[in-house]
């Protein structure tokens, strides 16, 4: 809402600079977005343009009079209405025009007056410049007067060329079977049956409360004008305006609620200006079709409620002062409080709480004290999900991965390539009105975002890139209901950078590095023992030989690791990077709730290595599992692989694997002889079972 300081001062006098007034308005809830000086206008010094951001509840301040009333209430200054040309009873108007409202609920009030013998011409320059400052294009004196009065009162008016209303019968009705209408901007509008029209007999002549029609518009040859000042149902106006994408000054105001008692005042004000600006001769009479109304009841404002909600009691004197300054009537005083009747232009005041807000606002929020409430016990704790997030982030960062926050939108192409933890079992969530046509879905996986981050860094000649994203992925469950899952994904490429002198070049990262990251997560979730790596059905975005899926022992899928498929890298212009993605939300559900600490062993362990030559494709873990599960000797504490070797002297197609076995007894120090005999036994059994050559 734009207005000028001079215009405002016509209705309320105030001392102090425009800045002071802007400040006062802002602090009363009418936020001043800008205050700029206007070019000199002559008398009265420079004028200022104020732009106020009017919240949707304050339709009354979409007129300068409303803002002036607010200033009067804030400053205690006198508020005055501008002059009008009052209507009077005159039955002859019926012969000039008749009005029929078919749907009183959609048009609770329709008022109109007629001005004859107008001379349509350009408006005087002061009127034009003020309108234009307020972002209204000047058309001619008649149209300008309707806009002028709308700016003043907030009541939209419409001027029809009476001569062009051939039937002399205004009908306010739904569009029904009428399908099309040409608005005065020359555009043909497709109507819906529920749209509200102003018709001249059967012919539509205006889209009620939104825009007039081309046919009945005021032109230079217009002589008699019918001024419409009506009240329409906000929802009906809003639906039509929204559907047609036709947002006008009038519809904006009707949507936010116009004072139903204000139609006649606005008419009389416009008639006054038409007399002055266009030399018009008004007919005294007025049409005023009005729906029967429910009587409004006063609102009970309880002193205790005010005090309880604001945390400060207001004296009865202060309370009444504020209410009256806002135009409210005190209809009764009881022990509990006041019976208050708000003015008709404040359609937002219908409940006790609305009045309490007005008291707080006018008393000033600054004068309400600050207190700290008593907080109930039970809160104040970092809860489990946040604790997990923080643990995971600090682990990832320690491993040299940086956190990315990516927008969760994806193209359907990317969702097809990277289907994330659901591995193609789910379809993506589509967005009906995407910002970018290409990104019309919610991501199924965090990987496309990370791949994009990698690409952006490669474009800047980065030699390595290590990043993770801890965020939600989205899919439709089998019933078509969106499901969200908190996931962790990472991408690593190049070598891990070491700061300082380059003593030796770090080896390039491999699949085992990315697997190591996942193992680290499993360790910090305490679930290493309950997961298994599987080779079948790894996602198709991965290199088939360098990928694995992670499952829980109960079979549920937890994620995957792998190297991006070379074809995919080529298509996307990416280097071969290693990725992982984990269903963190699922994973932490398996985390042990309680930690039990074991006492430390009292006797030393003895370690023995063994090395074995096997087929190249043999999974190293099998030996570990066999020793633990089949051989299963109470003195064997731990087994792990520590080396894999291919090449001479190991024959082609074979590899050498090396394991460390830890032996320990709970109750004594093992002797060399004891361990040697057990180790020899183990070696010969492995030789038998796996048919392999062994070396000690």
């Amino acid at each position: 809402m734009k207005l000028t300081v001079h215009w405002l001062k016509e209705f309320v006098s105030f001392r102090g600079s425009p800045q002071k007034i802007a400040e006062a308005l802002t602090m009363a809830g009418l936020e001043v977005e800008s205050l700029v000086p206007l070019p000199a206008e002559g008398e009265g010094g420079n004028d200022w343009l104020i732009e106020i951001s009017v919240t949707p509840n304050r339709g009354d301040c979409l007129g300068i009079l409303g803002v002036a009333r607010e200033i009067a209430a804030l400053t205690g200054e006198h508020f005055r209405l501008p002059p009008t040309s009052p209507h009077a009873g005159d039955p002859t108007l019926k012969q000039v025009i008749d009005v029929k409202v078919m749907h009183p609920r959609l048009c609770p009030r329709y008022s109109a007056r007629v001005v004859q013998s107008v001379r349509v011409a350009p408006s005087p320059s002061w009127m034009q410049s003020r309108l234009e400052a307020c972002a209204i294009r000047s058309i001619n004196n008649v149209v300008d007067v309707t806009n002028w009065v709308m700016l003043e009162t907030g009541q939209p008016l419409h001027a029809f060329d009476l001569a062009r209303l051939t039937s002399k019968r205004i009908v306010v009705r739904r569009a029904g079977a009428i399908k099309k209408f040409v608005t005065l901007d020359g555009i043909e509008r497709q109507l819906a049956p529920e749209d509200l029209l102003i018709c001249d007999g059967d012919a539509p002549t205006a889209l009620a409360g939104i825009m007039g029609g081309e046919d009945s518009e005021v032109r230079t040859d217009t002589q008699s004008v019918l001024l419409e000042s009506a009240h329409f149902d906000p929802l009906t106006i809003r639906r039509t305006a929204k559907r047609l994408g036709l947002h006008s000054e009038a519809s904006h105001r009707f949507e936010r609620g116009v004072d139903p008692e204000g139609t006649l005042y606005a008419l009389d004000r416009a008639v006054f200006l038409l007399e002055k600006m266009a030399g018009g001769i008004p007919l005294k009479g007025v049409v005023d079709r009005r729906a029967r109304q429910k009587g409004t009841k006063p609102i009970l404002l309880r002193t205790e409620k005010v005090k309880g909600l604001l945390g400060i009691g207001l004296s009865p004197k202060e309370t009444e002062r504020i209410l009256k300054s806002l135009g409210m009537k005190i209809q009764g005083r009881t022990k509990a409080g006041l019976k208050v009747m708000p003015p008709s232009f404040r359609r937002d005041l219908t409940r006790e709480i609305d009045l309490i807000e007005e008291l707080a606002r006018l008393h000033s929020y600054d004068r309400i004290p600050s207190t700290l409430p008593l907080v109930q016990p039970g809160g104040g704790k970092v809860d489990a999900p946040l604790r997990w997030e923080r643990k995971i982030r600090s682990f990832m960062v320690g491993e040299g991965l940086s956190e990315m926050v990516n927008l969760p939108f994806a193209s359907s192409d990317m969702n097809r390539r990277f289907c994330g933890i659901w591995q193609g079992q789910r379809s993506p969530v589509a967005i009906l009105n995407p910002l970018v046509q290409g990104d019309a879905e919610m991501r199924l996986s965090l990987i496309p975002g990370l791949a994009g981050n990698l690409g952006a860094h490669i474009a800047q000649k980065a030699r390595g890139f290590r990043a993770f994203d801890l965020g939600k992925v989205f899919s439709l469950d089998p019933k078509g209901v969106p499901e969200e899952r908190e996931c962790l994904a990472g991408i690593i490429f190049g070598r891990r950078e070491r700061k300082g002198l380059r003593v030796m070049e770090e080896p390039p990262l491999t699949l085992l590095d990315v697997k190591g990251l996942v193992e680290g997560i499993l360790e910090l979730a305490g679930v290493e023992q309950s997961t298994v790596w599987t080779i079948p059905d790894v996602p198709s975005c991965l290199h088939p030989g360098k990928a694995a899926s992670l499952q829980f022992v109960d079979g549920s899928r937890m994620g995957y690791v792998g190297e991006l498929h070379p074809d995919l890298c080529e298509e996307l212009g990416l280097p071969s990077a290693l990725i992982f993605e984990l269903d963190i939300e699922g994973l932490v559900q398996y985390a042990p709730r309680q930690l039990t600490v074991r006492s430390l062993p009292r006797f030393p362990s003895v370690e023995r290595d063994l090395s074995i030559v096997l087929e190249d494709g043999f999974p190293a873990q099998q030996i570990v599992s066999w020793i633990k599960e089949q051989f299963n000797h109470s003195l064997i504490e731990d087994v792990h692989v520590f080396d894999q070797y291919k090449g001479a002297p190991v024959p082609e197609g074979k590899k050498s694997l090396a394991y460390t076995i830890s032996y320990r007894a709970k109750d004594r120090t093992l002797t060399d002889a004891e361990v040697n005999s057990l180790h020899r036994d183990l070696i010969s059994r492995i030789g038998e079972v796996f048919g392999a050559q062994l070396r000690e």
């Binding site: 309880g308 807000e357 707080a360 907080v375 109930q376 320690g398 700061k499």
Partner: protein, 348 residues
């Protein structure tokens, strides 16, 4: 004999004193005290001197041997100490060379700021709640007093997933979800991503909010002021100026917007050089929070009796707070994730 021993003693002491290295010292030890050393030979020769002179000569020789041993030991210790000193003097590392360590990763600044916000509220005894990003119309709008076709819906440009489901436009629906399932007293914060159909230097289609609310028997607007003033002072600085001004949200009444004094111009708006401050656009104030007393209608939606409970709610944009704290002018920097940008937050 007497005299020659004296000469020998002088000779040995002189040679030991001038000996410059451990091998040289070992050499001297062999020369005098070794199996064929001169003192050893002299001791062996005792047998040949007359019996009555033997005890005295023996004593003199033994004293000499003892003295030589002591001198050799002392000289050895001295040489070792000198050698150690030399090594310490000579072994040097150029401390101007770079230290060596693995490159660390960096936590995203939005996470850091979010954590800071969360921790202030945890410190005040709030607890954390979460809700879905894809929200139904009822929780995102309807139950927050924004019926269909309400102009307040224009304030939030919405992404639609279906007729009835949207990407939540604020974290306020978490309020509804918590109140639907629990009874007061409640003091909750709800951090999370939110979505608006918007994209420019100050708006991102996805950004983050922290919603908070407190409901109990007698929570007042004064409590709202107290809690949020405390929060702002913890997040920015203790002496920052804060103002509460009336505003409108469909789900709170009275509603407030909370401003802090502009950090660039120090609240002056138009500093002395007459250039309008580009951060606060001349007002001297920066909007930081929206808040208000929970509307009775919202309480009715969740089945609370507004005559028995009251409460406040607030919401803030994490990106906005981060931008103001660190003087970032383009919100898109957060989502470009450039390592060079992220690394600047290492010391935070």
């Amino acid at each position: 004999m007497q005299e020659s021993l004296e000469t020998l003693r002088e000779e040995i002491l002189d040679r030991v004193a001038h000996c410059g290295s451990e091998p040289e010292l070992d050499h001297l030890r062999v020369e005098y005290l070794g199996r064929k050393g001169r003192i050893t030979l002299l001791l062996r020769g005792l047998r040949e001197i007359p019996a009555e002179e033997r005890p005295q000569a023996g004593e003199q020789l033994n004293r000499l041997r003892q003295l030589v041993e002591e001198q050799l030991e002392a000289r050895l210790a001295e040489l070792k100490a000198r050698e150690k000193e030399r090594i310490l003097r000579e072994e040097r590392v150029d401390i101007t060379l770079p230290g060596s360590r693995w490159e660390r990763g960096q936590i995203h600044p939005l996470t850091l700021v979010m954590d800071e916000i969360i921790d202030v509220f945890l410190g005040m005894g709030f607890e954390i709640a979460r809700g879905p990003d894809i929200e139904d119309d009822y929780h995102n709008f309807e139950a927050l007093n924004m019926p269909k076709d309400h102009p307040a819906r224009d304030m939030q440009d919405t992404f639609f997933v279906s007729q009835e489901r949207v990407l939540r436009t604020h974290t306020s629906p978490v309020q509804i979800r918590v109140m639907e399932s629990r009874k007061p007293p409640l003091q909750i914060i709800a951090p999370g991503a939110v979505y608006r159909h918007d994209d420019d230097a100050t708006h991102s289609p996805m950004f983050h909010q922290v919603e908070g609310f407190m409901v109990d028997g007698h929570i007042s607007f004064a409590d709202l002021k107290g809690v949020l003033t405390h929060f702002i002072r913890r997040i920015f600085r203790a002496e920052i100026k804060v103002r509460f001004r009336p505003s409108f949200f469909p789900f709170t009444e009275p509603s407030a917007e909370i401003d802090i004094e502009c950090m660039l111009c120090g609240g002056k708006g138009i500093p002395k050089d007459q250039q309008v401050c580009r951060v606060c656009r001349g007002s001297g104030w920066l909007e930081i929070l929206g808040a208000g007393m929970i509307d009775p209608q919202v309480f009715r939606f969740v089945g609370y009796d507004p005559e028995k409970v009251s409460g406040f709610a607030f919401g803030m944009g994490v990106e906005r707070i981060a931008m103001l704290k660190f003087g970032i002018e383009d919100i898109r920097l957060f989502f470009q994730n450039d390592i060079r940008f992220l690394r600047q937050f290492a010391c935070l």
